[in-house]
């Protein structure tokens, strides 16, 4: 039995959220009325000409710089020719042999294993319109008719091509996840897989372990989540190995991932459709990226996800918390702000990565849309540390702060959750409870400490949960002479 190794490279498309489209002044907007954000240029009316969007070039340079690419001084646009109804010009303005960014890399941590993926190139192109095929399972062939929406046509699209450095479905997913984080941290795109502002195509082949030559690859499309990226790659690896084991041959083709069926199926043979007749776009001049621009881009890069994780590790944040914090720029900003304001690392890390995340999921809201800010977290942390609030009560307060009921101290007061740290007041409650539970007190005096938990609970109930449980426990032990 031969052992096989998978070889995977990923092409990632990222829609840039610039104010206007790549080659015209139409707004980049999602969810607008179909065909409402179009003009002669993005509809390819006769006579219209493209003019490049500088903000989009800036966006791709930021991505290239963050991927440690070389940013070239002079770059060319090409026409990629193919006929498709949602491609208005029937050619796409793209880049061919002189892309803007080349030879970069992205480091991944895959379950503790360090994997560095080479980035072949990052290039600029324009998006197509959207087709909706009515009838026959939503595919163009056999559809009764098709509807076209050109709002997306001409939206700036960045293509990031990795080297075939990935070896497993888990690594593929980790690459996708890290790239998504990176793009989001740069603020150039929301990189939402389910909405198509980030899309993956995976090139997959298998070969016997030890063989240098690559096997024949297939290109798998239509994965709209990180999970489906991982599933699709895993499925395709297994399919190819089974095929080869059974004496079959993998053919060079594009395959469509079916999320529901959990399988891939052939779309078209690559050989038939690969001649795009690229030639230099005569309507555009070569792009000149001068030193000053490149330096400006480098200098403007924010802290990248990997740098952020390293910083958290240095602060002593546990790795799992660091991953979750780094997974969302908004969480990271709140964490940094709270810690800067003196909050406890572990407490805030735990609140953000467990309680806040759970709240957002439960209420289906975005963090941005909530009232929570860094000073709330710092205040909450100080209240717990100062003994004014129990850890349990703090979580309740946090939920209400997120919901917009006020600052932590306002909420705690309104809910009457301020902890009783007054020994005399607690002692009164303890004595009351012991008076009703003489038997339990006797057992403790005899050295059986089992009733302690029960008694603490009774005291907490008597104080409406506001007593500091450590104080209660101490007092009970003292009464029992333990």
């Amino acid at each position: 039995m031969t052992d096989y190794e998978a070889v995977i490279g990923i092409e990632t498309h990222v829609e840039l959220q610039t104010a206007s489209k790549m080659f015209c002044g139409c707004p980049v907007s999602f969810g607008a009325e179909p065909n409402s954000t179009c003009c002669p240029v993005c509809l390819a009316l006769p006579g219209a000409l493209p003019v490049p969007n500088e903000a989009a070039i800036e966006g791709i340079l930021r991505i290239g710089a963050a991927l440690e690419c070389e940013l070239v001084e002079r770059s060319l646009f090409h026409r990629k020719n193919y006929f498709y109804p949602d491609l208005p010009k029937n050619y796409q303005i793209s880049q061919y042999d002189v892309p803007l960014c080349v030879a970069g890399r992205l480091a991944l941590d895959v379950d503790g294993e360090e994997v560095t993926v080479g980035i072949t190139r990052v290039h600029m192109e324009e998006d197509t319109g959207k087709s909706v095929h009515v009838g026959e399972g939503g595919r163009i062939h056999g559809a009764e008719y098709s509807l076209l929406d050109f709002n997306r046509a001409g939206v700036p699209l960045v293509e990031i091509v990795s080297e075939p450095d990935l070896r497993s479905a888990e690594q593929a997913r980790a690459y996708g996840a890290e790239l998504q984080l990176l793009v989001r941290s740069l603020g150039v795109s929301d990189a939402r897989l389910e909405e198509g502002s980030m899309r993956f195509d995976a090139n997959i082949s298998v070969r016997p372990v030890g063989q240098d030559a690559y096997g024949t690859r297939t290109e798998v499309k239509n994965m709209n989540s990180l999970r489906s990226l991982q599933r699709a790659v895993a499925y395709e690896i297994d399919r190819q190995i089974e095929l080869v084991e059974a004496g079959g041959t993998v053919i060079l083709e594009t395959r469509h991932w079916d999320e529901e069926a959990g399988n891939t199926s052939g779309m078209r043979s690559k050989e038939e459709s690969e001649d795009y007749r690229y030639f230099q776009e005569p309507d555009l001049l070569p792009l000149q990226i001068d030193d000053a621009w490149r330096q400006r881009v480098q200098a403007s890069l924010p802290e990248l996800p990997a740098q952020q994780r390293a910083r958290y590790a240095g602060l002593g944040v546990d790795p799992k918390t660091a991953v979750v914090l780094g997974g969302s720029p908004e969480l990271g900003v709140l964490f940094d702000g709270a810690v800067d304001a003196g909050a406890d690392l572990r407490m805030v890390g735990n609140w953000l990565t467990v309680d806040v995340v759970a709240h957002l999921r439960r209420e289906s809201v975005e963090l941005d849309a909530t009232a929570l800010n860094a000073s709330h977290l710092a205040e909450l942390s100080a209240m717990v540390a100062g003994g004014d609030l129990s850890a349990t009560a703090a979580k309740d307060v946090l939920d209400r702060v997120i919901a917009g009921e006020g600052s932590p101290s306002e909420v705690a007061k309104a809910q009457d959750l301020i902890q009783i740290s007054d020994v005399a007041a607690i002692e009164t409650a303890v004595e009351g409870v012991l008076a009703e539970n003489g038997e339990a007190l006797e057992r403790m005096r005899e050295g059986d400490m089992k009733p302690l938990g029960f008694l603490v609970g009774q005291v907490m109930r008597a104080t409406g949960g506001k007593a500091d449980p450590r104080l209660v426990s101490d007092l009970l032990r003292r009464k029992a002479g333990a």
């Binding site: 002669p40 509809l43 390819a44 009316l45 006769p46 006579g47 219209a48 000409l49 493209p50 003019v51 490049p52 026409r79 020719n81 006929f83 109804p85 208005p88 010009k89 029937n90 050619y91 163009i140 062939h141 098709s146 076209l148 690969e274 001649d275 007749r277 690229y278 030639f279 005569p282 309507d283 555009l284 001049l285």
Partner: protein, 493 residues
Amino acid sequence: MTDPADLTITAAAAALRGGEITSVELTEAVLRRAAVTEAQLHAYLTLDQTGARRAASDADADFAAGRDRGPLQGIPLALKDNLCTRGMETTAGSKILAGYVPPYDATIVTKLRDGGAVILGKANLDEFAMGSSTENSAYGATRNPWDPDTVPGGSSGGAAAAVAAGSALGAYGSDTGGSIRQPASLCGIVGMKPTYGLVSRYGLIAFASSLDQIGPLSRTVQDAATMLEAVAGFDIHDATSYRGEVPDISGSLTAGVKGMRLGVVKELSGEGIDPQVAAAMWATLDALSDAGAEVVEVSMPATEYALSAYYLIAPAECSANLARFDGVRYGLRVPGDTVEEMMAATRAEGFGPEVIRRVLLGTYALSAGYYDAFYGQAQKVRTLVRDDFRRAYEQVDVLVSPTSPTTAFPIGAKAADPIAMYYSDVCTLALNLAGHPGMSVPVGLDDAGLPIGFQLMAPALGEEPLFRVGAEIERLVGFDARPALATSEVTGP
């Protein structure tokens, strides 16, 4: 009294400002001329009498109110029908765009409207500007006003015929390989191709983007200068448009040629040139020499390959430029069972044979395995052609040659022989490969009474010396013949 339709733009502009004529009177005279000549010429695809009359009366109102929007205010002009006009059908001479009404104006049309010009309508052309005789129009050929049995040249044949016949005072055309200069030559008028990028291409229906340039067709060099100055300059909508200062043209039209060095391009002036055409060129050079210019012969060996390179580059670019005509969003749609069948049927039905020939040539030239041998090689030749020009301009200020190897040829004479037709552009297309400005100036008539054009070429942004020599030729030669058809008299059957 001169029929106002026969006025130059310069004379008409002066008359409008002197109160000797109104724009409405001028426009009516031109429309009257068109009513007579169109029956024979078919220079126009669309003649917008209503719009022209409205623009003329607006111009008169402006004059009356003391508003002067520029030298073209109130001047009736024609536009080649590959220039997009908002609200006015624009077909590029193709069936695939029959009935297509653009929702926007080309940049030059915006400039003309802002300048108060009167747009008469849309002039006939070879389909998508592909041709040298205007016989490739899907809407029928245009005829030459000097002899209706001959072609007016092309592809701006309708524009050239209209200006020669007086059914427009001037016209804007496009020149990809000679499409302004060659019909100007065959129709006995001035035709000028500016430096690539000097006039915005936004709204010009593209044939070959790296070669196309909009320019004027007019009766005098001064008129051409006025028309060019009215539309030149940077346009935010055209990434290839020139960002610098527009060269000063009108200011030096009378400076003369004394001390200028003129180079006769050897490869474009000997073999294959009709002897009468060559003789007219040499006679003109003699006059220029007498006027103080120094005339030398210049060799540009790469021009021998320019025609082959041109017929790879232009078709390659057009194969992509014309891909958008697919029946999906506008224009003709021929139904099919699948989207591919619909597109294929639409294009097969909508494009004429010359367009299909060039799209296929270009597709082939760009195909995997053929790119290097064809398109790649043609780009190398293009570089060599540019090098030839650069070396030539180290020796001379302006290069000269005949504009067309022959005068107007009979309708149908070359229709069945594409290579013979392509050869009509042999003198003009090298200039487009270089991106330089050029001009055709009429210098005489042949034995058959057909006009002969003289081509001037200058380096990039060399419009000033180009127009200076052109204006001097005009003075020296004194070409003032008018075609027999240029009359508003209705003659008997």
